[in-house]
Subunit: 209 residues, 2 copies
DNA sequence: TATCTAATGTTGTCGCTGTCTACATGGTAG
DNA sequence: CTACCATGTAGACAGCGACAACATTAGATA
């Protein structure tokens, strides 16, 4: 048929796209550089011209994952409801992404990244946290939530949603439906932040903040 | 020196022990059956007599991890404080285990398990959730926590602590200290469960439960 | 006690992998 | 036009997991 030109032209994009597909179908350990090259009709050495090694390719996949996830979350944060509704929407968006791309999420949060791309990865990865932080601070100023360190509270929310996302993605919710758990989680978090923590329960140092 | 006897005697235990060490030092992908055999002074084919597969070995490691984690958690649940103190203790125990054995925790919750060992693994893995469920039900009966489905609430707590554990283990708390996050998480969860969720915020179906 | 069998360990082989090297091709800047 | 350099090819290498054939030995059975 149409014999391939010597140069592929968009090899890097093709490899990245196919890598994401493979990871979503078979997980990271189902990803092979040589098989990937075969899939794109290219010799086994070609990928090395675009990704120093396998980990570099995986890092690029993780970065792409964060970028598309951030788009979803940003969109959910702008749905025109009240503060609490937006908070719940963001949580649902995060968990939905996890359920639809479980293997990708695992790659995104697996901790071995090359120092090079690490900075970009890290910055892209924490955008969701900063978004939560802004929403919480806004709700506190509006008097909807009790006082408290927005940075820490944002991390609490992120951490909880992250756990929900990972376990939902892994089908490890022990019989509970994803919908129930995400609803109960956002409800409980919001109620806890609205009520605040009685001073008597806090260790002394925290009161000094 | 003392030449090895033809039969090792306790090869299965030795392999398992060394596998845990290797995983904690280098992660799962740093684990090689052949290197493992070398470490224990045994031929490269020997491990196959005790573990059908590499995955079977990993499953056994995961199971051992759950067992030792459950011991820690059970102990923390029996510290003689009030209900809230025991709740916090369990959370701290879970996160402490995660921080001390990050790679092991990853293996424990990675979802590809052989159907054979899957049942035992699953049962051992959910013991922590059942413990949380019992504590919450007890606190509800004592009137310390508001009413609500203990099963769902236990999952909310587990999910949140799990997220804290994973991100703390991965050093991904974005500048927050592990201590701060785990304290804030248990505080917020407890406050949320104590306050309960106003009926107006619940979707209609939930009120029918 | 003698024997037989199954469990355990060894050795060799297979195809696959990631990485490295040397070489081929061709787009593009001077 | 030419020279350069990014891109792609081809071959080699060691390490891997899995499998099969064979060796050794412990323990049950007679």
């Amino acid at each position: 048929m149409t014999d391939q030109p010597y140069h592929h032209g968009k090899l890097r994009e093709a490899l990245l796209e196919r890598a994401v597909e493979t990871i979503e179908e078979a997980g990271v350990e189902g990803l092979s550089l040589r098989q990937l090259a075969r899939d794109v009709n290219v010799s086994h050495g070609a990928p090395a011209k675009h990704f120093r090694d396998k980990q570099a390719l995986i890092d690029a996949v993780a970065l792409a994952g964060f970028e598309s996830m951030n788009r979803l979350i940003q969109g959910a944060a702008q749905s025109g409801e009240d503060l609490r509704g937006r908070f719940v929407s963001v949580g649902k968006a995060y968990v939905d992404f996890a359920v639809e791309h479980p293997a990708l999420l695992t790659v995104m949060y697996s901790t071995k990244h090359h120092p090079d791309s690490s900075d970009e990865l890290r910055n892209t990865g924490v955008q969701g946290i900063h978004l939560a932080q802004a929403m919480i601070a806004e709700a506190q100023e509006a008097g909807v939530l009790a006082a408290g360190n927005p940075e820490t509270l944002a991390m609490v929310c992120f951490v909880s949603l992250h756990g929900t996302a990972l376990l939902a993605a892994g089908g490890q919710l022990d019989g509970n439906s994803v919908e129930d758990v995400i609803t109960a989680t956002t409800d409980t978090l919001w109620a806890g932040m609205a009520a605040g923590v009685p001073a008597a329960q806090l260790p002394p140092t925290v009161q000094l903040h």
